[in-house]
């Protein structure tokens, strides 16, 4: 059954918007052959609309469109022209900032103001940052012996596959598209079937900006079908994946049985925030609060364990709860003062509530929250567990919701050991005014990002990515360019008669 591409959707405030629901392949919206998938509004639990999804034939069409475009067109486009196109795309995103934010808020449930001022704003900045790199991809000349000319080229990979999650729909797309395009690749991206709408609006802007057909292709579908076809496709040179550790393993396995494509995995986390006795406690409490409750706890880098020095634990807890009450206004995503919207889906909602029960059974104490909020929409109260220890499941397993586990420590060495006692290694923070403590802790914690006296502070220019089972490879910053290029060395020998 084929539905028309454009569908009208009514928002909770009565406003109506038009959304694309077809696959975006070769600069055209096409229905594809996969099943229609309903996308749900998590604030109302109602269906927003259905979207078309990609089956194996469609994935193949998208990959072939990208491959043909790379070979015939995109690789011959001058870097400065690539930069101009990416900047033009950023301009159009600025022009349509509100519309993009509406779609993020509608499909994901995050507050409209957050979508507009954080997600979309940062996404635009990401495109502009990487546009600047497009004409600065440098190889080296290497002096080996007198009779040779030796140099390296950092070439594009060709066709890049990307699978992104639902937690920051537009921003997760930007983190993949921007460096991939700047490095000269063509892309096929599978969005999450839970949040397919924002990327299709973005797709229309890609076409309007003037990108040649086939540079950017956006499809959606289930991970175990559409995602799987993409991970296994022989013409895809690299897969960039953000999602769960369990699915990350599958992507890697798929590469091992197909064409050994290069990989980049951005997986889960259980990041520890360490509050030292000499910290500015009020500041620490406020940063730590955002560190777990931002995006309703649905961040891979969420600071979901807080380790507090025993001498300041009670004082910190009081401040933390004070900030939670003040900061976290739960409500409809389109209300102006909403901070926290609903969780993404029924499945996640049930999972989080189940973890709250597990925490109670394990002997942790609910010091705040712990329940569903309201009786419609997947809303959960920000929840604070105290009296935790690091062997509890709520301290070890990723909950991906607004639930934080707080534990005490006696010495900084103990805090470091607890923080490192995890299979994950994505992020972390330390709150202290002491220089030695700051350097020691940031050196010792095995994670890809360490924040000092802050949390969740992102820049386009600094790399982000995990240690251990939080994944491998870096996003953002100059470091990410090497994920999207391959090195060729050329060695020219002078004839011996010279």
């Amino acid at each position: 059954m084929v539905q028309p591409d454009l569908q009208t959707v009514r928002l909770s405030n009565g406003k109506e918007i038009t959304v694309h629901t077809h696959l975006f392949i070769n600069n055209e919206f096409v229905p594809g052959h996969g099943p229609l998938i309903e996308t749900i509004n998590p604030a109302t639990e109602e269906v927003i609309c259905s979207v078309h999804s990609a089956d194996e034939q469609d994935v193949n069409a998208a990959v072939n469109a990208a491959a043909t475009c790379f070979k015939d067109t995109w690789r011959k486009v001058a870097p400065a022209e690539k930069a101009r196109l990416i900047n033009k795309l950023a301009d159009l995103m600025e022009r349509d900032r509100d519309e993009l934010a509406i779609l993020d808020a509608l499909d994901n449930g995050k507050a409209f103001t957050v979508a507009r001022d954080v997600d979309i704003t940062d996404s635009i900045a990401c495109y502009r940052y990487f546009a600047g790199w497009a004409d600065k991809i440098h190889g080296k000349t290497i002096d080996t012996t007198f009779d040779k000319m030796c140099y390296t080229r950092h070439e594009a990979l060709g066709v890049v596959g990307a699978v992104i999650p639902w937690n920051y729909p537009t921003m997760m797309a930007a983190w993949k598209f921007a460096p991939a395009l700047a490095a000269g690749n063509c892309i096929v991206m599978k969005t999450s079937e839970i949040t397919p709408l924002p990327a299709y609006k973005f797709a229309a802007l890609v076409k309007e900006a003037g990108f040649p057909a086939g540079v950017v292709n956006i499809i959606t579908g289930y991970g175990h079908t559409t995602g799987n076809y993409l991970s296994g496709h022989p013409l895809v040179s690299k897969m960039a994946f953000t999602g769960s550790t369990a699915t990350g393993r599958k992507v890697m396995e798929s590469s091992s049985t197909s064409n050994l494509k290069k990989l980049q995995l951005e997986l889960g986390g259980k990041s520890a925030q360490i509050v030292c006795a000499d910290a500015d406690l009020d500041q620490a409490a406020e940063w730590a609060c955002g560190g777990i409750f931002n995006n309703h706890g649905q961040s891979c880098n969420a600071g979901s364990r807080i380790l507090v020095h025993e001498s300041v634990h009670d004082q910190f807890l009081e401040l933390f709860i004070k900030h939670t009450k003040a900061m976290i206004k739960i409500g409809d995503p389109f209300e102006e003062d909403t901070f926290q919207g609903p969780q993404i889906s029924k499945a996640q909602f049930d999972k989080i509530l189940n973890y709250i029960e597990i925490g109670k059974k394990e002997g942790a104490v609910v010091s705040y929250g712990g329940k569903r909020w309201g009786n419609k929409g997947y809303y959960i109260e920000p929840t604070v567990f105290t009296n935790c220890h690091n062997q509890m499941r709520i301290m070890r397993e990723e909950i991906f919701g607004p639930v934080v586990a707080i534990a005490k420590f006696k010495t900084i060495e103990e805090a470091i050991d607890i923080a490192n006692d995890s299979d994950y290694g994505l992020a972390g923070s330390v709150y202290t005014t002491n220089l030695d403590t700051a350097i020691t802790v940031t050196n010792e914690i095995k994670t890809g990002t360490m924040w000092v006296n802050c949390f969740d502070v992102f820049d386009q220019s600094t790399p982000f990515g995990g240690y251990k089972q939080s994944g491998f490879g870096k996003e953002l910053g100059k470091y990410s360019l090497q994920e999207y290029t391959q090195v060729k060395v050329v060695k020219i020998l002078r004839s011996s008669k010279i």
């Binding site: 012996t145 500041q283 006296n453 011996s496």
Partner: protein, 493 residues
């Protein structure tokens, strides 16, 4: 058996401890494996082989050494130890070369060159120990910087074709960046690594920093690839095993991986080549060196039609002048293949080539010599692009030579492969040299030469020839992980 071989055997009895080298001690394994001299087919000796228990012991030793002091060792100290190790390798170059030739079958002077390369590699990376730079990145209101940290325990699984060179390609960058390492050598060529292990201890490395074991791939190799305390695996070998390694990493702890796999590298000779004799020299070197047992071997030669006949004539003459014989004999160019199994496999490809309708222009037969695994250097002509001998990696002294007319067409044929390890172009025209090397899908492109691999330039594959680059500054990325630190200076909420 001649004088040189028996001298070598005499030497090794005094030089090589055949245990597993773990924690600076040679210990017993789970079982023993015999290692064969491919020049005679006779057993040299048995060595201890690791089962999963011994792999665990080695990884635990490396883990303890990393956390016990190596992680916090000063760069200067690491560099000093590495230079000392290079000194010892230079001191014992003859012992190491003789062992390498005995175990692998490569001509002695090639083995000597390999050992000298090894000491150069160690010194090159020793120089990097104190030059591992992160960045300071300008961001508002914060001090943001990156640290390039060691990963921890690195595992390496290496092949038999360049035993000690392959060992150092992994050990040197791993150690200079502050990691500890467990290397599983090929059970077919364990000896030079065991001699090297004794030098590691003599140089003064702390126990557990460098561990060298051997064993079967599907037992010891698999164990290492799956070990939860091994944070990275570097593998050189076949594509099939590369897949298994990636799968093992996915199923265990998602350890970082680098893979150095197979190749079917094209060697393209244009009729405007500066000097045809030089092109012939390099082309022959590019396939018949090391008895064709090189991942980057230029095993497909494309010659432009104007010079085809002359090239083939000169090539044949040069190939026939190369002696196949005992590797300790100074006049030998080509030693034996590594094993009976491998020789059989190469010979079966020769049968396949003939059945497919290609012409076996030169060679094609085994050579009887003292019970060893010798064969003639072999040349096929009249080959079609879809023939198996054109597409599949033979890993032996077998080359196919094709005629071509048109540049666009030869580039297409050159790139029509799942591999992408290396390629060569012979021309005197600068535009052609650069445009053709740009168009070739390969990690190394040689112009007017072949097979020049050095410690200071990157080496690695496109497509299914692998992931990651070894050697040069590029290799450091394989053995470090990046941490971003952001210190808030003045942003209060």
């Amino acid at each position: 058996m001649n004088m040189t071989t028996s001298f070598a055997l005499f030497l090794y009895f005094y030089l090589v401890n055949t245990g597993l080298f773990i924690n600076n001690e040679f210990v017993a394994g789970n079982n023993t494996i015999e290692t064969i001299n491919p020049a005679t087919g006779k057993v040299i000796t048995s060595v201890q082989a690791a089962g999963s228990q011994q792999v665990n012991t080695a990884v635990e030793a490396a883990h303890k050494a990393f956390h016990g002091g190596w992680k916090t060792s000063t760069p200067r100290n690491r560099a000093r130890l590495m230079h000392k190790l290079a000194d010892l390798v230079e001191r014992d170059v003859n012992d190491l070369a003789h062992l390498e030739t005995l175990d692998n079958g490569k001509p002695l002077r090639n083995a000597q060159r390999d050992i000298i390369d090894v000491s150069n590699y160690i010194r090159y990376f020793a120089g990097f120990c104190d030059k591992l730079h992160g960045k300071v990145i300008d961001t508002q209101g914060k001090l943001s910087y990156t640290v390039h940290e060691p990963i921890g325990v690195c595992g390496a699984i290496i092949p038999w074709n360049f035993p000690i060179v392959m060992l150092i390609w992994k050990v040197a960058p791993a150690i200079c960046t502050g990691n500890t390492i467990v290397v599983k050598t090929s059970e077919m060529t364990p000896l030079s690594a065991l001699k090297f292990a004794a030098l590691v201890k003599e140089a003064g490395f702390a126990p557990g920093v460098i561990n060298i074991i051997t064993g079967y791939g599907h037992i010891a190799g698999d164990s290492l690839a799956r070990h939860m305390k091994c944070d990275k695996i570097a593998f050189t070998g076949s594509v099939n095993v590369g897949r298994a390694i990636m799968k093992a990493a996915a199923e265990s702890n998602l350890k970082k991986i680098t893979l150095e796999l197979g190749g079917k590298s094209p060697n393209i000779i244009f009729d405007d080549v500066e000097n045809l004799d030089e092109a012939v020299f390099w082309s022959r070197f590019g396939i018949f060196y090391n008895a064709g047992q090189m991942c980057f071997a230029g095993s497909r030669i494309y010659v432009q039609e104007g010079i085809y006949d002359e090239f083939v004539k000169k090539f044949e003459k040069l190939v026939l002048s190369g002696k196949v014989g005992c590797p300790f004999d100074k006049s030998t160019f080509q030693g034996p293949q590594i094993s009976e199994t491998h020789l059989n496999r190469i010979m079966s490809y020769i049968d396949i080539g003939k059945k497919e309708g290609a012409t076996c222009h030169l060679g094609g037969k085994r050579v009887n010599n003292n019970g060893g695994y010798f064969m003639e250097p072999t040349v096929f002509t009249d080959v079609k692009p879809d023939m198996r001998i054109m597409r599949e990696e033979i890993f032996g002294p077998v080359v196919v030579i094709c005629k071509f007319k048109d540049t666009k067409d030869v580039i297409k044929q050159a790139n029509d492969t799942i591999f992408g390890l290396a390629a060569s172009v012979f021309t005197s025209n600068i535009t052609r040299a650069v445009t053709v090397s740009n168009a070739l899908e390969a990690g190394s492109v040689w112009v007017n030469c072949t097979s020049i691999v050095t410690e200071n330039s990157p080496f690695g594959g496109y497509k299914q020839s692998g992931i990651g680059r070894e050697n040069s500054e590029y290799a450091l990325a394989n053995y470090t992980q990046i941490k971003a630190v952001k210190i808030n200076l003045n942003s209060k909420l």
